[in-house]
Symmetry: C2
Subunit: 398 residues, 2 copies
Amino acid sequence: MVQEAIRRRNAGTLLRHVHLGGPVSRAGLAERMGLNRSTIMALTTELTRVGLVQEEPPPDTGRAGRPSLLVRPTDRCYVLAFDVAVDRLVAARVGLGGSILERREAARPRAGPDLHRVAEVLAHFGRQLHRAAGPEATCVGVGASYCGMIRPGDGMVRFGPDLGWVDQAFGVELGRRLGLGLPVAVGNEAHLGAQAEQQRGAGVGLDNLVYLHGDVGVGGGIIVGGRLLGGDGGYGCELGHMVVNPYDGRPCGCGSSGCLEAEVGERALLDAAGRPAELFGRDAIRSVVDDADRGDPMAREALRRVGDWLGIGVANLINLFNPGMVIFGGMLCDLYPGVASQVRGRICRNVLPVAREQVRLRTAALGGDATLVGAAELGFAPLLADPLGLLAASARRR
Amino acid sequence: MVQEAIRRRNAGTLLRHVHLGGPVSRAGLAERMGLNRSTIMALTTELTRVGLVQEEPPPDTGRAGRPSLLVRPTDRCYVLAFDVAVDRLVAARVGLGGSILERREAARPRAGPDLHRVAEVLAHFGRQLHRAAGPEATCVGVGASYCGMIRPGDGMVRFGPDLGWVDQAFGVELGRRLGLGLPVAVGNEAHLGAQAEQQRGAGVGLDNLVYLHGDVGVGGGIIVGGRLLGGDGGYGCELGHMVVNPYDGRPCGCGSSGCLEAEVGERALLDAAGRPAELFGRDAIRSVVDDADRGDPMAREALRRVGDWLGIGVANLINLFNPGMVIFGGMLCDLYPGVASQVRGRICRNVLPVAREQVRLRTAALGGDATLVGAAELGFAPLLADPLGLLAASARRR
């Protein structure tokens, strides 16, 4: 039984390597996993038999000799991934290997909507995507990203200030409406964005990184020693509510004032740049950065001001976490180029020299899809933990 | 060979249980370690043979029947622990089980002294303690706590603002002068205080805690998911340099201003309370708290002001780490009772409700010895990793 458990876990590890790292030869897998070639061959054969991987010749390298076959994931299994973002509702079918095979998207009104409306829009998209996948493909998991604080385990939204949700059973409700008999794993958008950037984005290979996700507010996902910082209840990483301006801070959605998200969120920038209250969203942010590039004094002053608050926040985070990288995601992707020098200036002034020796600053490599990609990884987690067991159970259910 | 490695690791795990948890029956060990009784008996016998543990009857419980013998650590092995604190140099001989068997202490002048002077004072104490231990006892490790940023691995002080040290080879120099042929493991005082409080103090059993260590400045040790937050270079946890007062902040030793340690360190409090510049140290802090208790308006205002900055810092840390406990150590042990209501008020205003549901605030249970106890644990680490291997090697060296 122990050997069977080891074999099943090794199958999961092998699948994770090709899922995250892309096509790789058996020899490469043997090296990465520290196993001998005959074990790798047995595992590959079994994963091929159940249809999760296939072997194929590599692209022509121009070199002589018989090339090694590459093991790569197939399209047999997929997950459904959902993203409840500040401006849109997204659903996607994502294949092993992480490619987004098909997606549906709807604009989201800024105010509301309630749990049932959100769950129904997403479930409708999900059912469409499931039908379009055809009967040969198997849905192996469902993951969702939500812009709020999520209770680990059951996908309860404890606090979603943006939609005004408190203690709403989002994961359960979405799962019920999908009707696939699969649980829905829900995560905070910034946590998932951080994990996605570490697995597939700017932070691949890094054990310590800080990811800031901007939209109306600013969320955070922090990787410490290779793992997401959860804290006791899974509610850590709330860097947006770090008080940076204790004197005349702007009011924050949390009820306090002077929080990082109140000082560098979308509204703070647009107000400082004198934009009308009806304007919002990433186009509005970009137009401020563009105007500043063209020399507009009000836009430049707005960026200077917001950049300084962001710089204080980032400097504090570097002192605390000594990360290898700080990644700016969501609308901060658009803002960061306009405030980079301000942020770097603060880091030079406020971070202890030994902690800033190595840190790099980057925008999210996955751009606006970081949260969706993170949600898909949540959905893949059960398959990667035990692919053979999960497929056997799924076949019995049919 | 694999079985031999497992046996040696299990011996270390057993020894760690009695070292940290105190005397325990073989049945208790079997349960905690998930091993059967015959394995526990074999391990106990072997550890008894090399003199690391002994078995003895428990204190009379008044119950009938033959009581189980308790396994407890002996005095055969000890470590030398050192603490370079802001006001004193401490050396101690610490036994398995964590008791401080003997100690030496010298006052430290506030300014300086240099590496060679500090290392010589400590090495002199260390040699005295070693001689006093007698020939039957074995020194199995050396650990030191230092009030500055330490490079993991070689005990290099990268930045010790308090003594004005930059890139000083403290660990190597102390080891050379001790002449015991043992490496000296060096850690940052607040990191070690946090670990000591988690292993033997207020935070036993907690996986997520924040420890603030106050003296001239404020250091931090943060436990995330059961492990000390190191970051990429081991320089994380620098919560003292979180900017809390960006407008009219007091100058900080790091070159910036408005850092948490500049606003809540010893000098900030004593200045606000109108104490003369010659006064310093924990007695001076206590006298401000006492005066405030007696109704002195200037002392009360000083505590209100410093407490509010401390509260902002602690609230930020709770939002980031969602810890089960925040522990105040060093001079903050003395300050905290005078500012607790101010700190709690800030937590209520600034921490998101779901993150403050469970958090407790405590002063360090180990008091002023937290850093020294942490240093001793550094010294014990090699023994606990492989007690049988280490003693065999040590016997060959004699």
